[in-house]
Each structure stands twice: as C-alpha cells, then as structure tokens.
C-alpha cells in the first residue's frame, strides 16, 4: 500500500510526498549490501505491476515472466544502477521492465518464430492455488487512482498515441501508419499529452 502525507511549503500549495519511495530506496540500499529479504520485499511490492506491464506489452505470460525475472535480477546485480537524482525506485524498475518488453516486441521476426513454439502459446502462470499467490503490496491503489486520473485528463487522441507507444511497444511511425496520421501529428499529440501528464503527476513528489 502506498503511504502519503501532506506537507506545507511556504508560498506553495500543499505537496503530496510519497513515503513509499523512501521505503523503496531503503530496500535498494539493503539490496546493495546483499540483503535477500530486502530483495524479496521489493519483488513482492512491484512484481504484480511489473508482470501486468510486461504481459500487456508482450502478450505472452511465459515471456512476461522472463522479462520480470531479468529486470529484477538486474536490480540484484547492480543496485547502484538506481540514481536517486533521476526519479523514484518504482519508475526505475518499471523502466527496466518496459525497456526489455519493448525490445522484445520490436524483434517481430523473432516473435513470430517464438509463436510457432507450442510451449510458448500455453499459459504458464497458473494461479489455481491461491495459497501460492503473492499478495503483499499488490494494490498500490492510490498510485493507480492518481495515474488513471491523470490519464483521464487527456484528450482521447493524446491518450491513444501514448498508450499505443507505451503499452503497445509501437514506434511513432508505426502509430502514424496504423492510425493514418502524419508522423508530425503523432509526435505533437505525444508531446502535448506527456506535458499534461507531467503537470498532473508532478504533485506527487518524493
């Protein structure tokens, strides 16, 4: 669960401070010391979203698990790769998952060949046994509400190009082609949409 608190700043509006990130940074520091429990803590907190993201992009549970595994192993190998000055732990983590997932879908030929492998068509991540399902920190409902609300402020056409790019793993020119739009229009819609999101989400500082 995300914990937030309102702090007053002189001559500024109240700023929402996300205490989750300070806990995350502490976990990353402990991971740097080889603390496996800290690693498990970070995994349990973010793997549910990481799996959802990877699955949304690559559309294959088996590959999504591979991507998440690889991203978290990268955290274990190199926790110093997280730079506090460049954003929150959760965004850093999701950036690694996203990068790997998009990389995979861009290799279209490779994807086609994998799709011919029957092992990869069968769903792998079964959750029949509820007792074996990790549920800790699965929600982060406040963050989800905040991001969804921010996306909801966008005009539909801006939201569309951003979602196709981020969740579809598609390049700007692929989006232009699929929507029948000039490339410049796709670029400007993306820029305007992201500017709005930056403002809308900017209130939640670390």
């Amino acid at each position: 669960m995300s914990h937030t608190v309102l702090l007053e700043r002189p001559r500024e509006a109240a700023v929402v401070v996300d205490l989750t990130d300070s806990r995350d940074r502490e976990l990353v520091a402990r991971i740097a010391d080889g603390d496996e429990e800290a690693f498990r803590g970070l995994f349990r907190r973010y793997a549910p979203t990481a799996i959802a993201l990877a699955k949304r992009i690559v559309r294959q549970p088996f590959l999504a698990e591979e991507i998440v595994q690889e991203a978290f192993l990268a955290v274990w190998r190199d926790p110093a790769g997280y730079d506090e000055g460049r954003g929150t732990v959760k965004s850093w983590l999701m950036g690694m998952v996203h990068h790997r997932a998009v990389d995979l879908v861009r290799r279209e030929e490779s994807q086609r060949r994998r799709a011919e492998d029957p092992r990869l068509i069968e769903p792998v991540a079964t959750t029949d046994d509820v007792a074996e399902t990790v549920v800790e920190e699965i929600g982060m409902p406040e963050e989800r509400r905040a991001v969804r609300a921010a996306l909801g402020t966008l005009p539909a056409e801006q939201q569309q190009v951003i979602e196709l790019m981020y969740f579809g793993g598609r390049s700007q020119s692929q989006i232009a082609e699929s929507l029948g739009l000039p490339l410049g229009t796709v670029k400007s819609r993306t820029l305007l949409g992201m500017r709005r999101l930056r403002v809308a989400l900017g209130g939640m500082e670390r």
């Binding site: 080889g34 690693f39 498990r40 995994f43 349990r44 793997a47 549910p48 979203t49 799996i51 959802a52 993201l53 699955k55 698990e65 591979e66 998440v68 595994q69 690889e70 192993l73 990268a74 190998r77 190199d78 790769g81 460049r86 954003g87 965004s91 850093w92 950036g95 996203h98 990068h99 990389d103 861009r106 290799r107 060949r113 492998d117 991540a125 959750t127 074996e132 399902t133 990790v134 699965i138 982060m140 963050e143 989800r144 991001v147 969804r148 996306l151 951003i162 790019m165 981020y166 598609r170 390049s171 700007q172 670029k187 400007s188 993306t190 820029l191 992201m194 999101l197 930056r198 989400l201």
Partner: protein, 227 residues
C-alpha cells in the same frame, strides 16, 4: 547541434515512452552528448518524463504473481557480489580456487548443477580489443543457466550496461545484463529459455539504459560448441 528545445523535448518524450525511431535515437544520442550535458533544463525534462513514463505502468491492474516465480528469481540470483565484502586475505584463497576451478573444468568431469550443454570462447571486436571471455550453458530445467566470465571490458559509463545475447541469424534472445567496474572483469550467472540452447552464437553488446532497441555496439562474440 539542434538547440531547438521543443524538438529535443519531443525526442525526450518519445524515448521515455519507448517510441523513438532508429534515426531519431541517433539524433537523441548526439544531442545528449553535446547539449544535455550542459543544459540543466533538458536533463530535468529527461528525468521528469522518465518518471512519468515509469508511473504509467501503475495505471494497470496488478496481476497475481506465483510464489514459484519469486523462488525462481531468487534461485537465479548470482551470489558473486558477496565477494566484495571478503577480507583481503580471502582474495588469495579465492584466486587459488579460481585456478583450481579452471583446471577442474579442463580435467575433471563437471559435477555441479545441471548438464553442461555448450561453451564458447569469446573474441573481442575493435570496440574492446583487450577483452576476452568464456561462456558456458547448463541445463536448469525449463531454463538454461548461462555463466559468463569476461575480462578487459571497458568500465560502464552512467546509464549503460552490457547485455549477453544468444543469437541465431536475425533472432536473438537476451540472457541478461550486467555492469563492469574499473577492473574490467565480470563473473556472473544468468538465465535464458532452454529453446535458445541450440543457438550457435553468443555476443555481448554495450547498451543504453531505457533504450528499447538492442544495441549495435558489439564488444565480444563467440561460437557455441555443444558439449
């Protein structure tokens, strides 16, 4: 350089979302090298848009994660980082074990882990002429363990890392990423899906953080030979 901040902001945004074209990626890297280094405003935008992009993931409904995945990830975690905390005398002991391990790999049947599948000796490209390494693949159930030992690699710059690929023609599968410090040496265990065990080639590229495309900067490569 372009010095058009709106155009650069456009590149930053598209890159954060993973939507840059190859040509634009090159343009972005040039700008990053020549402009962003001196422009605090653009660096701030890069950070902020990266943060926004990362948070978009949280608009999705989270999915249950099997306990099995957590255990697989933990089982695959390399333990070699622990060596950094060894006292100096232990380095000599470790070095002795390394020599014994190499001798063992040559003269003694392998008794550790799953069945040894293939190995490759890595040869350098012009980008890392002093580098070298060995890769071995080992059966690990539905996955395959990929063990790398390399040396002479340039230390990673900020936001960059190495990635090991198993390659067959145009297809390549990542076995994982790693970083290298000033020593230029690395010893790491990674994983790859078992279907990549038949791929004939292995390569190591130098990658940019958050760049969705596989890098072109090949540093080491080798042919895998079945054991």
């Amino acid at each position: 350089m372009m010095a058009d901040h709106e155009r650069l902001e456009e590149l930053i945004v598209a890159r954060a979302l993973g939507g840059l074209e190859t040509g634009d990626e090159r343009a972005y890297q040039l700008e990053r090298e020549h402009h962003l280094a001196d422009c605090a405003e653009c660096r701030r935008l890069e950070t902020e848009y990266g943060e926004v992009a990362g948070r978009l993931a949280f608009s999705l409904d989270p999915e249950p994660v099997s306990q099995d995945l957590e255990e697989r990830v933990v089982a695959a975690m390399p333990r070699s980082r622990d060596r950094r905390r060894l006292p100096p005398w232990a380095a000599a002991v470790a070095a002795t074990f390394c020599v014994l391990a190499v001798l063992g790999a040559v003269f003694i049947p392998d008794l550790s882990g799953g069945r040894a599948l293939a190995s490759a000796t890595l040869t350098p490209t012009d980008l890392a002429p002093d580098a070298g390494g060995e890769v071995s693949l080992r059966d690990a159930g539905t996955n395959m363990e990929v063990r790398l030992e390399a040396w002479g690699l340039p230390a990673c710059e900020d936001d960059r890392y190495y990635e090991l690929w198993l390659v067959e023609g145009e297809e390549r599968v990542s076995a994982g990423s790693f970083t290298v410090g000033p020593s230029g040496k690395v010893e790491v265990d990674m994983n790859a899906p078992d279907f990549a065990g038949s791929y004939p080639t292995v390569g190591i590229t130098y990658e940019h953080d958050k760049d969705p495309r596989a890098g072109d900067a090949k540093m080491l490569s080798g042919e895998l030979h079945e054991l």
